[in-house]
Symmetry: C2
Subunit: 209 residues, 2 copies
DNA sequence: TTTAAATATATACTCAGTACATGTTTTGCT
DNA sequence: AGCAAAACATGTACTGAGTATATATTTAAA
């Protein structure tokens, strides 16, 4: 909690808007909530909403930065004897073991995903985030192996992120079918292991495997 | 060319609008052309534009269906002794050998890609198309191997499409650096081979590899 | 306490996309 | 040929996100 009055007020207002928006989004679906309604619900001016959230989607995705930083840090700060692909795999296992909020396969996260799937705008934003993360991952891969960013780095990043998102989707699917978080976790990790195994094979002979 | 007068007129009008739009898009960038300008350039009413192209992006991406059909057909109509992943790999080689228009790495396609990269809207549409194709590919994979669509099919599709788009991007990068179409082709196929090798490893023991 | 920077908010705009109504052309039927 | 229905072109009026800009108010800092 920052001591600065201005900053505290600013964050409080941001949070108030985000809360109002989230409430409305889950109740009625992202596409059926207007910025005007959010402003009214949060009792602020319309322009204030844009002031804090340049895009409507920004009110929905709030923890993206955390997930991104986790991934990039895991690649950058891995032990030298661990390959990047293996570091990625271990990160997935660690996140599940630690019950990190954004890979917790619970009723809450299923609702989250359902809201995304129901909205083209949210799906588009999710894809954009993933693409940008793929690029950043390629850069991090090259950087931590002392290479210039090359085709190998980009293919590795692309395959890893494809693996991640497939595993994530699969875990949520398992959750919806079985209602069992443990089973969802297991299917997530199984696909992570399967995908990374493939990536290692593709990257054999490079510093990434 | 359909003999039907109505259909011919309709297609002609559609083409006229598409041509006008394309001209403007390449000249000024997708985001800096309004629907009104396109309508005026094609000398039709604004609503007519929407009549033929529900979304602005539809005027830009015109050959997507062709690319999609090629991929799905290659998977569906492969010889029984060829695995789906191998069929994918062979398709890529065949398209290059046949100089298929949408995988021709020429100055024209570089300009095309530059226009896409300059526009968030076009990038978003490209991602959407790719995601949808991934889903259709998973379904086709399951179908042609007589499986129910499962996690293996989805992981395979996801890794294959990731491979494709990375290879495509890499080829264009090579083209821009070297100006050499042959070099671009070579880098495309090298990445396709590398990626599919990884997918085969990941899918060993399944009917997809 | 005065000044400067941040912040909240109003007004007025742009542009894609939708809803709906109305002509106009083509077709298929008699 | 002549007519009714379908398909198509197009106008008007709207919604809703996002931008530009101006202004007022609050907080920080001197």
């Amino acid at each position: 909690m920052p001591s600065d009055l201005r900053t505290r007020k600013r964050l409080a207002m941001r949070q108030a808007i985000s809360n109002a928006a989230t409430r409305l989004f889950f109740a009625r679906g992202f596409d059926h909530v207007t910025i005007d309604e959010i402003a009214k619900e949060a009792d602020v001016g319309r322009m204030t909403v844009f002031n804090h959230f340049p895009r409507k989607e920004d009110m929905f995705f709030d923890r993206d930065d955390e997930a991104r930083d986790n991934l990039l840090n895991a690649l950058r700060q891995r032990a030298p004897e661990i390959s990047p692909v293996e570091a990625f795999r271990l990160l997935a296992h660690r996140l599940i073991a630690d019950k990190a909020p954004y890979v917790e396969f619970s009723a809450r996260s299923a609702e989250f995903m359902n809201t995304i799937v129901a909205s083209e705008a949210l799906k588009a934003r999710a894809r954009q985030t993933r693409d940008e993360l793929t690029g950043q991952t390629a850069a991090a891969l090259a950087e931590t192996t002392g290479q210039a960013e090359d085709a190998n780095a980009r293919l590795t990043a692309s395959l890893l992120l494809a693996t991640w998102s497939t595993a994530y989707a699969e875990a949520l699917r398992t959750l919806q079918h079985t209602g069992d978080t443990k089973a969802a976790n297991a299917s997530f990790l199984a696909l992570i292991d399967q995908g990374t195994l493939g990536v290692k094979a593709a990257m054999a002979g490079t510093p990434y495997a």
